[in-house]
């Protein structure tokens, strides 16, 4: 008997359907995957279940009782918990405070901090979550924040856990941990709904999968007896033809970007230092476990943090102390891993977000004025080229699905033929089709002479795209190797901080 049944759910925004007659049935003690392209309506469906949105039509039954949730509060009372695609933590509070936010336990209004902390630590130990209840959330890595979000659900004793793209921000090892934890929860009788774009995860770890396409549920199938190809066909409605990538080596010129003993401050008072050079028409992948200084390094490269020592030379120009705007004008594009914080103005439209670059590098600026027509034309072109789904160019970014927001960021950084692109998790939250598209775009930029610094915690992506691979560990580069018949174990060891003697070239 299913614990949860959603039947014929409809929801439209401004007259277009985000969900249309969607059915979802989740059994007790199963891991149920929700699969679909960007904008297929996965988040919307889960938000309806969680009481964030009110459905237009349809019914939701839990344990055989039809229910109506007016707000997430009702859902939580029914032991439903959700981790959102974009985290909802308060950075300035501690882990414990975030988890217990809004709860009244015995002794209210006095909080028994000690008991709470102990409880949380016990919980996190028993699921192998490794979080410290007194740490400040703003000092955590995304992986750790993810675990805090999950602890939040466990603390509230959720029986049905919804996770919106939890693995998008995780390294493969972290993802494996996550699913191992799901299995433990499953054994305890919880049901878990996971949204993901990684088909392999669905096949490896989930029991059943429901596929959404264009707001409709296509079907629900057991993951046993289905393969990746069939799934992706269900998802995009056609077969995905992997594009053959030309891997021919381009003529490599002098380096466009050189980091000489480039020191940067890391969180927690540590200092990192790297030596790197990046040549024209080259993709240099930086592999590493999340939290080894990648974010700090990239932010220092963009001038968002002060650098410690050493030099950053871009096209014979020392830009170690240049402002972010100056670096942008030199021709550096930046794709941050946190699009809401660093890349988008959520309350502005698509067209205006495309103008978010230094004035001199925007086509739609004429003298001091904005050329509205030019701005809209550009936006129309880009929306088409990148197939961004929206209700119009003036629609606030807030209402776009996660993947479509990411596409817009990429599009903006690609216009104006940058010399260097610094890409941090560029395919975070994109569906397989869109990921393909972005990979091809990055390769096209490479052919056009652009140098790319690709930082990703997804090793596959790095192996697929890079010409050379540098491995970062604890803020320094362990080694840089050509991406030709590389030894994965060696990379794995380097990522763990082990330099094998014999492997030294």
């Amino acid at each position: 008997m299913p614990v949860l049944e959603m039947k014929d759910i409809c929801k439209s925004f401004f007259g277009t359907y985000a969900n249309r007659d969607v059915c979802l049935e989740v059994r007790e003690g199963e891991i149920h995957a929700l699969l679909g392209e960007n904008g297929a309506g996965k988040t919307t469906l889960m938000n309806i279940l969680y009481g964030m949105y009110q459905k237009d039509a349809g019914s939701i039954t839990i344990d055989g009782h039809e229910i109506v949730f007016k707000s997430p509060k009702d859902a939580i009372a029914r032991q439903i918990g959700m981790v959102h695609q974009h985290f909802t933590l308060v950075p300035t509070l501690t882990v414990q405070q975030n988890i217990t936010l809004g709860l009244r336990d015995s002794g209210y209004p006095f909080s028994r901090e000690r008991a709470r902390c102990e409880h949380i630590d016990r919980l996190s130990d028993s699921y192998g979550l490794k979080t410290h209840s007194r740490a400040l959330v703003k000092n955590l890595s995304v992986g750790e924040m993810q675990r805090v979000e999950i602890l939040k659900l466990l603390y509230r004793k959720a029986k049905i856990l919804i996770l919106d793209e939890p693995t998008a921000v995780l390294t493969p090892q972290e993802s494996d941990h996550l699913f191992a934890m799901f299995k433990q929860l499953k054994a305890e009788g919880c049901s878990i709904i996971v949204i993901t774009h990684h088909i392999q995860e669905v096949l490896d770890h989930c029991d059943r999968v429901t596929v959404l396409r264009d707001g409709c549920s296509i079907s629900t199938v057991e993951t046993k007896g289905i393969d990746a190809k069939q799934l992706s066909t269900m998802m995009i409605g056609r077969e995905l033809v992997p594009v053959a990538r030309e891997r021919q080596n381009h003529h490599m010129d002098a380096p466009v970007l050189e980091l000489v003993d480039f020191g940067f401050k890391r969180n927690g008072g540590k200092v990192g230092s790297v030596n790197l050079s990046l040549r024209q028409s080259e993709i240099l992948g930086i592999a590493g476990v999340d939290g080894n200084g990648q974010k700090e390094l990239l932010e220092t490269l963009m001038g968002l943090r002060d650098h410690e020592k050493g030099k950053m030379v871009c096209c014979q120009q020392d830009i170690s102390n240049a402002s972010t705007a100056e670096r942008r004008l030199v021709g550096i594009g930046y794709i941050s891993d946190d699009r809401h914080r660093d890349s988008l103005v959520l309350d502005m439209g698509i067209a205006e977000n495309l103008m978010l670059r230094p004035a001199r590098s925007t086509a739609a600026t004429q003298g001091h004025m904005v050329n509205k027509q030019c701005m809209l034309e550009q936006a129309t072109r880009i929306v088409k080229e990148f197939s961004i789904k929206s209700h119009g160019l003036q629609e606030p970014m807030r209402f776009l699905s996660g993947g479509n927001q990411q596409k817009l960021v990429l599009a903006r950084e690609f216009i104006g033929s940058p010399k260097i692109i610094i890409a941090f998790q560029p395919t975070r939250g994109l569906d397989i089709g869109a990921t393909e598209f972005v990979h091809n775009q990055l390769l096209a930029m490479r052919s056009a002479g652009c140098a790319t610094l690709l930082v990703s915690t997804n090793l596959e992506e790095i192996l697929l795209l890079s010409d050379r691979i540098a491995v970062i560990h604890e803020g320094s580069i362990m080694d840089t190797i050509e991406n030709k018949a590389v030894d994965i174990t060696r990379i794995g060891l380097l990522m763990a901080g082990v330099r094998t003697e014999g492997a030294a070239r």
Binding site: K11, S12, F13, F14, Y53, Q54, M302, L304, S323, T324, A325, R327, R328, L329, Y334, S336, R341, D342, S343, L344, V345, L346, D347, M348, E352, M355, L356, R357, P358, A359, S361, T362, T365, H368, M369, V370, K372, F399
Partner: protein, 342 residues
């Protein structure tokens, strides 16, 4: 379409609720409702002079509210319009008294410029501190109001005092510094034209120019703008200067158009009411035109009500407060509705 209708209905509810508060208060002070209402309306529409007074009062409100709205649009919470207005007033008085011989063609642009500069400089202080050291502008701008108001108090007793009179006020300014009267015998003056021109200028700046785009974006997500290579500090400082400058012009307009000398209390809280006007006008320059006339009418009408029906003008302030409260409630409900997409 449905959304449009809802908006009108909720607006009617807000107006109804506000009227209810007003009537309740009038009844509370024991006045005759009919007399009060009729004297209120006659105070506004009773004669062409009454109507002109509404426009006279709307002028400084419009200018100061434009200044406040620029700040609100760009994330610079400027609650210091009152002080900036007084700085503008000091600037015009000092300039006109120091250079009394200048012909109007030089004098008028000069006093407008220095008035703008003085108001702008007054807002630049918190603007700079915010941009450079992330110090909250809210408290700074409020505190600078007191400094400016008391600075006027000192100046009209010392440096700018009229030696011919024992009262704390400046001498009458030279005639070359007077704004033209547009429709004598009413008191409507060229300041109104200036205000309307500024409405257009602000519209162009905020909604059409590149700088305005940057200022709005910075107001919404400063971090993203910084990452995108937009000069956040520059945008913050320029928006502070523009906002303060416009409030400074309100002071210039009051002196050059009405008082012709600096006295204490030339502004009965225009700078504070401007915040309400900006909110009512949704921080949009065209909205502010209507909001400033509306609030001016409310104030003028309530003064008439006090004269004829003995209803204290403080009721007007309470009604304004209630109106804002209702509107805020309405807006928050609406934005919830928008998020839910209904």
């Amino acid at each position: 379409m449905k959304r449009r209708d809802d908006e009108w209905v909720s607006l009617l509810i807000v107006i109804g609720a506000t009227l209810l508060v007003a009537f309740g208060l009038i009844a509370l002070v024991g006045s005759n409702l009919m007399v009060a209402v009729s004297s209120f309306l006659r105070g506004i529409f009773g004669s062409s002079y009454a109507m002109s007074e509404v426009l006279v009062r709307a002028t400084p409100l419009m200018l100061a509210a434009l200044g406040v709205s620029i700040g609100f649009k760009t994330g610079f919470t400027n609650l210091g319009a009152e002080g900036q207005l007084y700085m503008g007033a000091i600037a015009i008085t000092a300039t006109a008294l120091v250079f009394p011989g200048l012909p109007p063609i030089v004098m008028i642009p000069l006093v407008i410029l220095v008035g703008f500069a003085a108001g702008g400089a007054w807002a630049l202080v918190p603007g700079f501190l915010k941009a450079r050291f992330s110090i909250s502008e809210v408290i700074m701008t409020i505190m600078l109001n007191y400094v400016a108001i008391n600075l006027v108090g000192i100046l009209v007793r010392t440096g700018l005092k009229d030696p011919a009179y024992p009262y704390p006020m400046s001498p009458i300014l030279p005639e070359s510094a007077n704004f033209m009267q547009l429709l004598p015998p009413t008191r409507i003056h060229a300041g109104l034209v200036m205000a309307l021109l500024m409405v257009i200028a602000v519209h162009l700046l905020v909604f059409r120019s590149r700088l305005g785009f940057e200022m709005r974006a910075v107001g919404l997500n400063g971090r993203a703008c910084h990452c995108s290579g937009i000069q956040v500090n520059r945008a913050t400082i320029l928006s502070a200067i523009a906002g303060g400058g416009l409030a400074g012009l309100a002071g210039v307009s009051e002196i050059a158009g009405l008082h012709h000398r600096l006295i204490e209390g030339i502004s009965p809280g225009f700078g504070y009411v401007a915040i309400i006007v900006a909110l009512l006008g949704k921080n949009h320059p065209f909205g502010i035109v209507f909001a400033s006339i509306g609030i001016a009418a409310l104030q003028i009408g309530s003064m008439a009500m006090q004269r004829t029906a003995g209803v204290p003008t403080s009721i007007a302030s309470i009604v304004m407060g209630a109106l804002i409260l209702f509107l805020v409630i309405r807006d928050s409900r609406q934005s919830i509705a928008i998020l839910e997409g209904v």
